[in-house]
């Protein structure tokens, strides 16, 4: 029996010595084969073909590179390594024998390149250089490059490292509290510039859309009511807007619906489907509800009739994010992601199609902040996004830009005060502040800071004293920034009474 075992052993050794037909190529074989390629790009080849691990092993085992080409790698690993070397070369581990032998053998090899290799090299050149050296040349107009004047600093750098909003600041003539009156949590509010998520009703209810639900917060009592929640949790509320005067709330959703809710009954009255994409902006003009969609279309819905979709305004090529009817109901202002502001008439032209009476192209960013002046019916304020950062005041009748101011920050929302000749704007990076501006000079009255992420929307209380700001830091802050000073209020009333009597006298 013993001799059979010996014979088997012998056989297996012989088998090991013979080249294995199906086995992967030995390392030196692979190296030699890919040699041509490695010259075009060494870094990639070394990383792919000889990973660090393999290289380390060949160092430590201090084996001599095999001279017999037939020997397989398996056999090499089987041989016990001779640590310490021999008497001629005491430390073989310090020498990269296989690398040396590879370089020696490779040098003798003919460098004939096959057509496929040429092709491969060309492909490498194209991917590395982006073009084929043999088919193109790169030209530039000679001479020195034209540099910006000495001392010029990138205005964007100024923007992002600035300390305060520019514009000559005016000392406030009245007291404006710098801290918010109240801070409310707004968990899961969507940080999406293109949505309009809060609105304050004349009944002092603040409607807030938090992801897939709409909550109503009563400013007077502090009660919170969950009005509605989307059935599908992947859908979300994209806009809310109160019907003037009464307790009806219009809700735009991500699945392109416009819903009408009765708040007292907590019931949905209508579900109006006409858009094909999410509805990010809503505005009421009596019984006409206008809705702007991601498609760039604005639809008018007559909420009283069954065929609610009465008109389509197509003047934008991208998502409508700002939409406001003028207080007198004559014009609709729309701002969109295509950087345009369109002013639409309330009735269509002769061709039975709505065409904008004005189109303002001056903004260099998406226009979300759109607000009409409450005391001058043809004055509109608009604010642009990150790439624009300007607030512009327009006369929509003449189409002229009355004033513009660089706010150095994304303008997310604008409101006009009803008590003072002032505007308030909400901003994004870097200060996330609210700024109060004097109209028409557009000097800065004050800044309200506190939000730690960009302000998304602003809403004003029905009495015009308080402004609510919703921000991406998941808070709602209420600022009592337009409160009427009791002394001036009294004086004003007195003046009104006295002026009345003067009129009476003059009539007599």
């Amino acid at each position: 029996m013993a001799q059979f075992v010996f014979e088997n052993d012998l056989n297996s050794i012989l088998k090991l010595d013979a080249p294995i037909t199906n086995a992967p190529l030995a390392r030196w074989q692979r190296k030699a084969k890919e040699g041509g390629c490695s010259s075009t790009n060494t870094s990639i080849n070394t990383s792919v073909l000889s990973p660090m691990k393999a290289a380390n092993r060949s160092h430590s085992s201090s084996k001599t590179p095999s001279k017999t080409p037939g020997k397989s790698q398996g056999k090499l690993q089987g041989t016990p390594s001779r640590v310490g070397g021999d008497r001629f070369i005491p430390s073989r581990s310090a020498m990269q024998m296989d690398v040396a032998s590879f370089l020696l053998t490779k040098e003798n090899e003919p460098t004939a390149q096959s057509p496929t290799k040429k092709e491969q090299q060309k492909a490498w050149a194209v991917t590395l250089n982006g073009f084929d050296m043999e088919e193109a040349k790169i030209l530039r107009l000679g001479g020195k490059s034209l540099n910006a004047p000495e001392g010029y600093q990138n205005n964007l750098k100024v923007l992002y490292s600035q300390k305060a909003t520019p514009g000559s600041s005016k000392k406030p003539s009245r007291y404006i509290p710098s801290m918010p009156d109240r801070v409310l949590d707004a968990p899961e509010i969507r940080n999406d510039y293109y949505l309009n998520l809060i609105d304050w009703s004349s009944q002092n209810l603040l409607a807030v859309a938090l992801n897939d639900s709409v909550y109503l917060w009563n400013y007077l009592t502090g009660d919170i009511l969950l009005l509605l929640q989307m059935e599908n949790s992947e859908e979300y509320i994209s806009s809310v807007s109160w019907f003037n005067g009464e307790n009806y709330l219009a809700v735009g959703t991500s699945n392109a619906e416009v819903q009408l809710w009765d708040v007292e009954q907590q019931k949905r009255l209508r579900n109006m489907v006409s858009h094909s994409s999410r509805v990010g902006a809503l505005s009421w003009n009596n019984h006409i509800l206008s809705s702007g969609s991601r498609t760039g279309h604005i639809h008018h819905h007559d909420v009283r009739v069954a065929q609610h979709h009465v008109a389509t305004l197509s003047g934008h090529s991208q998502e409508v994010c700002g939409l406001k009817w003028s207080p007198d109901g004559r014009y609709l202002a729309s701002g969109a992601n295509d950087n345009l502001v369109n002013i639409w008439p309330c009735v269509q032209g002769d061709s039975a199609e709505f065409a904008p009476v004005q189109t303002f192209t001056q903004h260099q960013g998406a226009v979300k902040a759109v607000s009409w002046c409450p005391w001058q019916s043809n004055v509109l304020a608009t604010g642009g996004g990150t790439s624009d950062r300007h607030i512009r005041i327009w006369n929509v009748c003449s189409g002229t830009c009355l004033n513009s101011v660089d706010t150095h920050s994304q303008v997310c929302s604008i409101l006009w005060s009803t008590t003072y000749k002032e505007l308030i704007s909400g901003h994004g990076f870097a200060q996330n502040q609210l700024v109060i501006w004097k109209y028409p000079t557009m000097t800065r009255v004050t800044e309200l800071k506190g939000h730690s992420a960009r302000v998304l929307n602003l809403a004003m209380s029905p009495d015009g004293c308080t402004v609510a700001s919703a921000a991406a830091d998941e808070t709602l802050r209420l600022w009592k920034c337009f409160e009427v000073d009791p002394v001036t209020k009294k004086e004003k009333e007195k003046a009104r009474n006295s002026s009345k009597s003067i009129i009476h006298q003059s009539i007599r």
Binding site: F131, L139, L141, K157, Y160, Q362
Partner: protein, 203 residues
């Protein structure tokens, strides 16, 4: 140029003009939006139904006009492959940003006798969205903190005679870059694909 736009159909000459004009406004927009030059040296111009900003610096204007005129000639001969705007830091000479416009020429069109059917209005609409995208990129491109210079590279056919004052250059890539493809437009004779590569911010 205005007459070109009112005519229906596109000839090779008209196409070269539209494309070179796009580059003039496109490069100006990049220079303004990226803050390479002071914003007060730019003036507003109405183009493509947009308000665009164009430099008023006489040297810069002269330079751009020279390049664009030469480009128009090459576009007419269908010898251009790419136009690249390279933005480099002046201090470190490091390449920070690279706007690449690949131009595909239809070489079958040899002279003005060929008229392609494409409404100039549609082309203008396409160009408008490319320019808008250039404007919108400031929202994601990293801030250019140091003073920067720009260079224009034009990739041409190999057999082209290098004109006077022009010299050959390397491709000038951004190392460790991130790339964003932008929209493209076509006049049916020339097709322009745009892309911007910028230095990845280590995080």
């Amino acid at each position: 140029m205005a007459g070109q736009l009112t005519r229906e159909g596109i000839t090779l000459k008209g196409s070269a003009e539209i494309v070179s004009e796009f580059f003039f406004f496109g490069i100006n927009s990049i220079l303004y939006q990226r803050g390479i030059y002071p914003p007060e040296t730019f003036t507003r111009a109405q183009k493509y139904g947009l308000t665009l900003l164009v430099s008023t610096d006489p040297d810069l204007k002269n330079y751009l006009n020279t390049v664009v005129e030469q480009l128009k000639d090459w576009l007419y001969k269908c010898q251009v492959q790419k136009l690249v705007v390279v933005i480099t830091s002046i201090d470190s000479n490091e390449i920070l940003e690279r706007w690449q416009f690949d131009i595909e020429c239809d070489k079958t069109v040899k002279d003005d006798s060929v008229v392609r059917e494409k409404s100039p209005k549609v082309i203008q609409e396409e160009i408008r969205s490319v320019i808008r995208q250039i404007t919108a990129t400031v929202t994601f491109l990293p801030l250019l903190e140091e003073a920067c210079a720009f260079d224009l590279l034009i990739y041409t056919d190999k057999d082209l005679q290098v004109p006077e004052k022009w010299e050959e250059s390397g491709p000038q890539f951004v190392s460790n870059s991130e790339e964003v493809r932008l929209r493209s437009f076509t006049t049916t004779i020339h097709k322009v694909n745009s892309m911007v590569a910028y230095k990845k911010i280590d995080s």
